[in-house]
């Protein structure tokens, strides 16, 4: 149940000074592309927040989104923000189990109706009436609908919840769909990534608490502040791309020199995310910096977009194998069509009756 003690008090109990709290708020303001003057307002809003209740539903997922948020960032402020939220239901983190856990969820929904934040991790299987994933005998589908009804805001964390992710990949045996497909009439904030960057998750929640509404979203439901640019736009290897310097193999000179990984399949040019600027593990690095091309994990259907190691412009099939037969088939079809047309033309020429003077005699004659 939500505790009525305010945030600052709880931070103090955890040894966080007001000064470092304000620094966090300023950082958050800049991250959200807000003017610096907004920092005090964020601080004020967060201070007044009465431990907002969060219900975190885990469906078809691997828990990496939770792992990303909870473990790798400890003990940063983002983590603490979560500590000061009232996380009323979370499979991995809650101590309760079985009926007690479900009771906790229902109690929280009751007590905070219309005020709690719903976070969903994982996709929802809808094939066969949703039997592929159930919790306490309730299908994911039913649980999502029931919990979403009273939520103030809904956040899909991770590519599975946002776009279906791995469970949605071909041939999708469970009929996995993203949250947005079930709750078509609700505004869903998508925070895609496999997993997403922790600060993006906490930033979105801070935005909701500060302004009482979700941040500006793009056509794929992503907050534009974090997903406005491609990895490629902000990649530190971009100058090599511009100068046509590429690593062709993982152990060649280009790879050792840190050249662009485009030809090794980097999906940076088509992937919108903040990895190149926020980075991972407390700003240590991100995949491209450690020498591996971007997989495009925050884009819809990235599992089905061909090999991770094939350049974006590479054709999806073995051209050398197909081009010759394809040309052959094309030439044969063209020749056949041409022959057929010639026969039709010849027939029309035979059937055509030539004209003579009488045919233009008209009214005068």
């Amino acid at each position: 149940m939500a505790d009525e003690a305010d945030l600052l008090e709880r931070l103090r109990q955890q040894g966080i000074s007001r000064r470092s709290f304000l620094k966090y708020c300023a950082g958050l303001a800049s991250l959200l592309a807000l003017p610096p003057a907004m920092a005090p307002r964020i601080a004020e809003a967060l201070e007044r927040a009465r431990r907002p209740a969060v219900i975190w539903l885990s469906f078809q997922e691997c828990t990496a989104c939770t792992e990303s948020l909870t473990r790798s960032f400890s003990p940063t402020l983002e983590n603490l923000i979560f500590n000061v939220l009232s996380l009323d239901y979370h499979h991995t983190l809650q101590a309760a189990a079985g009926r007690h856990a479900e009771d906790a969820r229902r109690q929280s929904m009751e007590a905070n109706r219309g005020k709690y934040i719903l976070v969903v991790e994982g996709s929802i299987p809808v094939a066969e009436g949703g039997v592929y994933s159930t919790i306490a005998g309730i299908s994911n589908l039913d649980m999502l609908r029931e919990t979403a009804a009273g939520a103030a805001a809904i956040v899909s964390v991770g590519t599975c919840a946002a776009y279906g992710g791995l469970p949605h990949a071909r041939p999708n045996p469970t009929g996995a769909v993203p949250v947005s497909e079930i709750l078509a009439d609700r505004t869903i904030v998508n925070v895609p990534g496999c997993p997403p960057i922790p600060v993006v998750i906490s930033g979105v929640i801070a935005h909701v608490l500060t302004f009482g509404r979700v941040p500006e979203l793009d056509d794929l439901g992503r907050p534009t502040v974090f997903y406005g640019q491609t990895i490629h736009d902000r990649c530190y290897r971009r100058p090599f791309y511009d100068r046509n310097l590429f690593a062709e193999q993982f152990d060649d000179e280009g790879a050792r020199n840190g050249w662009c990984l485009y030809k090794l399949g980097c999906k940076g040019p088509t992937t919108r995310n903040a990895c190149a600027t926020e980075k991972w593990n407390q700003g240590t690095s991100f995949p491209i910096q450690s020498g591996h091309p971007c997989l495009g994990c925050s884009e819809p259907d990235f599992w089905d977009a061909g090999s991770f190691y094939q350049a974006l412009t590479a054709p999806p099939v073995d051209v050398a194998k197909w081009v010759v037969p394809a040309i052959g088939v094309g030439v044969a079809a063209g020749a056949a069509a041409g022959l057929a047309n010639r026969l039709r033309k010849a027939r029309a020429e035979r059937r055509r009756q030539p004209l003579a003077a009488d045919d233009v005699k008209g009214g005068e004659g």
């Binding site: 020429e349 059937r351 055509r352 003077a357 045919d359 233009v360 005699k361 008209g362 005068e364």
Partner: protein, 426 residues
């Protein structure tokens, strides 16, 4: 009688060849041809977009020669053109197209729209949807030998009176002559003075030439109405006469489409090469000028301009020849806007002048010519096509303009140098 809707549609299908199919395939619907057509420019009516005039032919192409079209036709979703539709399209294919070729020239993918219109007319005339005026003209040409109904005896009289006036012999049917001159009906009916001018120039140049009593008519109404069968019949009269007389060269007179027919369409129409060569009068004059056999004693003083006949510049490439002659003949020659290959049509080519249905539209399109003429400030316009001349005179009369049109032969004959000593010694 072979005229029927069915025969029209069959003729359209038979006429679609590889160029037509590839033209329809390559059309990118850019609409540039609209801005090239004087009828569209002057009226702003989108129906006059040249490629749009080909809708019936396009439909036949789709139905007969494309996979999708055949499928749709099977399902009854792509019906063939019917009588009412062809009747509607008659005005677009005949009244609003002079076959001037400006659209073909402007087309960015190289579609020869003029060639397509010719092919569409083949089907229209076979379906009985050609304008009455053009039908009458064609019938007269086939039955009397001249689109104006002038038979040989009448022509002989006209020529005889010219001979008397000029004091020059104008021979008929002279075997073994080098040159056979064929004539446009407009020349012997409206402008006999131009024939007199030609005779004087030929005489001064010492040309061995003749007229013919059969196959004397150069124009070809079959080409204009769009029937290859009829065009062939008319053309063969000239070819047979030329080969019987054994001339080396046939001279196309001051006429546009006669030149196109004789020079470019002819061998394809009759299915074999000629045993003579064909030159336009302008080419011949320029050859004579180059060889020193055509010299002038003076230059025309007044400012004048030149109207390029479409068939000569766009379809025939005769751009420099008239300019050589004008430089020789005129002191103050000024080019019109769009002169040469981009010149605007007189508005009456391609059978339009023989088609009273088109009179009102033709008169509207003349506004283009008026602007061109007015901008030069010239009082005299030279041209090299008797049909252009007649059409332009119509427009000038309708708008009460103070402008005179003359043929190139007359301009040259005006200041023809007197026989010099050398010639006299010969």
């Amino acid at each position: 009688m072979s005229v029927s809707l069915q025969n029209g549609l069959t003729t359209l299908a038979a006429g679609i060849d590889a160029p037509i199919a590839s033209f329809f395939n390559s059309c990118v619907h850019c609409g540039l041809c609209a801005g090239a057509c004087h009828f569209h420019v002057e009226t702003g009516d989108p129906r006059y977009t040249p490629i749009h005039k080909l809708e019936p032919l396009r439909r036949i192409w789709q139905r007969e020669y494309t996979l999708w079209g055949r499928l749709l036709a099977r399902l009854g979703l792509l019906p063939p053109p019917d009588e009412a539709e062809l009747a509607e399209w008659q005005s677009l294919l005949y009244d609003s197209c002079t076959l001037c070729g400006r659209c073909s020239l402007v087309c960015p993918v190289g579609n020869d729209i003029t060639y397509m219109i010719r092919k569409a007319r083949e089907g229209m005339v076979a379906a009985g949807h050609a304008p009455e005026g053009l039908k009458t003209t064609t019938y007269r040409a086939l039955t009397t030998g001249s689109p104006m109904g002038v038979r040989y005896p009448a022509l002989a009289k006209i020529i005889a009176s010219l001979e008397k006036e000029e004091g020059i012999e104008v021979p008929f049917d002279r075997e073994g002559a080098d040159y056979l001159l064929v004539l446009s009906a407009n020349e012997y009916m409206l402008y006999p003075e131009s024939i007199a001018a030609m005779a004087r120039i030929f005489h001064r140049a010492g040309l061995s030439w003749t007229l013919a009593s059969e196959g004397y008519e150069a124009t070809n109404a079959g080409i204009q109405i769009g029937s290859s069968d009829l065009a062939r019949e008319l053309l063969l009269r000239i070819v047979e006469t030329a080969e019987k007389l054994g001339v080396k060269t046939v001279i196309s007179p001051e006429c546009g489409h006669a030149y196109t027919t004789l020079r470019w369409d002819g061998p394809n129409l009759i299915g074999r090469p000629y045993r003579f060569r064909v030159v336009h009068l302008l080419e011949l004059f320029d050859e004579l000028r180059r060889d020193g056999r055509l010299t002038l004693a003076g230059k025309h003083r007044e400012k004048l301009t030149f109207h390029d006949p479409c068939q000569l510049v766009r379809r025939g490439g005769l751009i420099d020849e008239p300019r050589h002659l004008l430089d020789m003949a005129a002191e103050a020659f000024e080019e019109m806007d769009c002169a040469g290959v981009w010149n605007w049509c007189c508005g009456g080519g391609g059978g339009v002048s023989a088609n009273p249905d088109a009179d009102a539209l033709r008169n509207r399109a003349f506004a283009m010519k008026k602007r061109q003429f007015d901008a030069t400030g010239a009082r005299k316009v030279v041209t090299a096509c008797a049909n252009c001349r007649a059409v332009l005179e119509d427009g000038i009369e309708a708008r009460e303009m103070a402008l005179e049109i003359v043929g190139m032969a007359e301009l040259l004959a005006e200041n023809l140098a007197p026989p010099d000593e050398e010639t006299q010694h010969e």
